[in-house]
């Protein structure tokens, strides 16, 4: 990988960058949200960081405090009074540096806090905007900054021994499934989390197998393969746009009607709910998560599933897909079709706790000790269901649980819903034989 360095800025430049970044974000809606806070602190009770530690600094609304302070001092209706009486001090570089931990290491941007606020404030949205400001201040964590920079330049978050294109084709050969690549004119453009290429090739094969089963006209594109968007994680809005544009341009070039997002929660948010704004107009195709796509195919009768031999299972709803993204019914409809004996978590559906790895936290080394404390909240809930298997539809959740499994010597390995579907396609040899790749 090329060496990319987080810019080393002077304190004054950091503050100026943060203020510039935040000023760009301030619209009527964010101002209204900041004005509305009544300092009740209830948002802490939704946050797994606070629940795991009881440390008040992890109160979600506190994570944006420097920016709330800056807004009130510089741009609010009472700004002259705040400055005159010194009610709001200027934000300092030290303060911003201190807040890096709160905005990146201890927030998955999972949005659970946005459900509890009695004023209805979408706190997670404010945190995302604050990350943009931190990026401009040169305070994005190095791991996220480096990957975002690399992805913006090359399309891949990290260099790889083999180009991802070749790795995908090799996965197709290994699992004996066609991996359509660079087709010129298709209905569906596919992309893939690099997490799957590197850690879960079975998920890539499952995607290809399901598409083959459904006889979809589809393709991967060499120049727009990676679903993840590290610009989104790092708070680099321009980079987020550039990274999204790679996929948008490729989807347009192959005349796709659907851009299919694999099992990757934040990729879904970046492309389904943010890309068009960065693109500056509506996207000329639909963006669907593979889970909702399969749900639609099931409903239409084109996807037929046999009973799985999974036994009891519980399901981790990925925050970006369910709580923030609105992919609501599909996972359970698919599991029901496969006769999965589902044991719901105490907090499930839109109220599920984050796995602890979202928002780029999984990649941040210094966040690890705290992350393990929050993951414990989740593991306890999973164990309490008594289910034999943990399923999810997000490769970042999957990797987070795999990491937790190794760390805690936990007795469960997460499984992919997509892979389960691919294993139980009715009428295919795989379902009949019950084989696994």
């Amino acid at each position: 990988m090329n060496d990319v360095l987080v810019p080393a800025l002077t304190p004054a430049a950091r503050v100026a960058g943060a203020m510039k970044g935040f000023a760009q974000e301030i619209g009527a809606l964010s101002a209204f949200r900041m004005e509305s806070c009544i300092h009740c602190g209830i948002c802490a009770e939704a946050c797994h960081y606070y629940i795991a530690t009881e440390d008040p600094q992890y109160t979600p609304i506190w994570k944006i405090e420097p920016f709330k302070q800056a807004y009130k001092r510089e741009a609010s209706a009472l700004a002259p009074l705040y400055r005159l009486f010194g009610f709001k001090r200027e934000v300092t570089a030290d303060q911003l540096t201190q807040w890096q931990h709160l905005l990146f290491d201890s927030c998955n941007m999972c949005g659970r806090c946005s459900l509890i606020c009695p004023m209805g404030i979408d706190v997670a949205e404010l945190i995302e905007q604050s990350r943009h400001a931190m990026f401009e201040a040169g305070l994005a964590p190095k791991e996220l900054y480096d990957k975002a920079a690399h992805q913006q330049l090359t399309g891949q978050p990290e260099a790889s021994a083999e180009p991802y294109r070749d790795q995908l084709l090799a996965i197709g050969l290994k699992f004996d499934v066609p991996v359509p690549m660079d087709q010129p004119d298709v209905d569906i453009m596919l992309c893939v989390p690099r997490t799957d290429i590197e850690h879960y090739p079975t998920a890539v094969a499952a995607l290809a197998r399901v598409m083959q089963y459904l006889r979809c006209s589809c393709t991967f594109r060499s120049d727009g393969l990676v679903a993840e968007n590290y610009g989104y994680y790092a708070g680099g809005k321009d980079w987020q746009r550039d990274i999204s544009l790679r996929l948008i341009d490729q989807a347009i070039e192959c005349h796709a009607k659907i851009l299919l997002i694999p099992e990757c929660g934040h990729a879904y948010t970046a492309l389904r709910w943010e890309a068009a704004d960065l693109y500056g107009r509506a996207l000329p195709f639909k963006v669907l998560s593979v889970t909702e796509f399969l749900g639609e195919e099931l409903k239409a009768g084109r996807l037929k599933l046999g009973p799985s031999t999974l036994g009891t299972a519980t399901f981790q709803d990925p925050c970006e897909l369910r709580r923030k993204g609105g992919v609501n019914e599909a996972p359970r409809a698919l599991m029901k079709a496969m006769k999965v004996d589902l044991r719901e978590l105490e907090n499930h559906g839109g109220f599920s706790f984050c796995c602890g790895g979202g928002g780029g936290v999984l990649d941040i080394e210094q966040a690890k000790p705290l992350r393990y404390r929050t993951v414990e909240v989740k593991l306890r809930e999973i164990d309490a269901t008594g289910a034999q298997t943990l399923m999810t539809s997000c490769s970042d959740c999957r990797r987070t649980f795999d990491d937790a499994q190794a760390h805690f010597s936990w007795d469960k390995r997460p499984q992919s819903l997509l892979e389960l579907v691919a294993d139980n396609l009715l009428g295919s040899n795989r379902s009949d034989s019950g084989a696994t790749p």
């Binding site: 301030i26 619209g27 009527a28 809606l29 101002a31 209204f32 949200r33 004005e35 509305s36 009544i38 300092h39 009740c40 602190g41 209830i42 009770e45 939704a46 606070y50 629940i51 008040p56 109160t59 609304i61 506190w62 741009a75 609010s76 209706a77 009472l78 009074l81 009610f87 949005g111 946005s114 459900l115 509890i116 606020c117 009695p118 004023m119 209805g120 404030i121 979408d122 389904r272 709910w273 943010e274 890309a275 068009a276 704004d277 500056g280 107009r281 509506a282 996207l283 639909k286 369910r322 709580r323 923030k324 993204g325 609105g326 992919v327 609501n328 907090n347 559906g349 839109g350 109220f351």
Partner: protein
């Protein structure tokens, strides 16, 4: 001009003027900021997500099942003193007569004895709220001058009102003047602090609820 005349004459007029102009300015200041267009295709129709916003407006008054174990007592305390305040302000006959002189219509009130009981209960809840703010580590960390001063001016209205009703400590006219002056103070402070949430709460819930419903997201 005596104190009572001032408090309900010029004092009240000035307070109402500051209140109205201040509230308008607080709202205009962010309404005039840019509103970004959302180009991402909504999952739901405008009708459906508007309804989602309205539902959130009501639904946020009661904690979700998943949160109630952690937030129930705090929210019960918060909503209770608000209900107490509403009852005292809107259902006490002298207040109804005063508001009636402003709006041109009146409504039935509660007996004074009931209002006194509600006032004492509300006062107790107010003290509990302050106790919670200074003892709860999260609330203490978030709190600033605005939180404490807003509490103080609201409490002052309640205490002076009770004193005036009970005729305690000074002649009735003086007590009434002090009570009305405390209302003037509250009106003057209102647009400068968190009391503005009275105007924000419903639109904030509705707008954010609708935006979440637009995506089909949980709200």
């Amino acid at each position: 001009m005596d104190l009572l005349s001032f408090s309900r004459g010029l004092g009240l007029k000035v307070a109402i003027a500051i209140f109205c102009m201040g509230v308008a300015w607080r709202i205009l200041a962010f309404v005039l900021l840019k509103i970004r267009r959302d180009f991402n295709k909504p999952r739901e129709s405008i009708l459906k997500y508007s309804i989602g916003g309205l539902i959130t407006t009501m639904a946020r008054s009661w904690p979700h099942r998943e949160f109630i174990g952690r937030t129930g007592p705090g929210e019960a305390l918060g909503y209770s003193y608000h209900l107490g305040l509403f009852a005292v302000v809107l259902l006490f006959t002298p207040h109804i007569l005063f508001l009636g002189s402003l709006f041109g219509f009146t409504w039935p009130g509660l007996p004074s004895s009931v209002i006194t009981i509600i006032s004492v209960l509300t006062l107790t809840l107010f003290l509990a709220v302050l106790f919670r703010r200074v003892t709860n580590p999260v609330m203490r960390m978030l709190s600033n001058f605005d939180d404490y001063f807003s509490w103080f001016v609201t409490m002052l209205v309640l205490v002076t009102g009770l004193a005036a009703t009970a005729h305690v400590g000074a002649p009735y006219e003086t007590l009434l003047a002090i009570h009305i002056l405390s209302v003037d103070l509250l009106l003057i402070w209102f647009p400068f602090g968190k009391l503005m949430h009275a105007f924000y709460i419903m639109p904030s819930r509705a707008i954010n609820g609708a935006l979440l419903a637009r995506k089909g997201a949980t709200s």
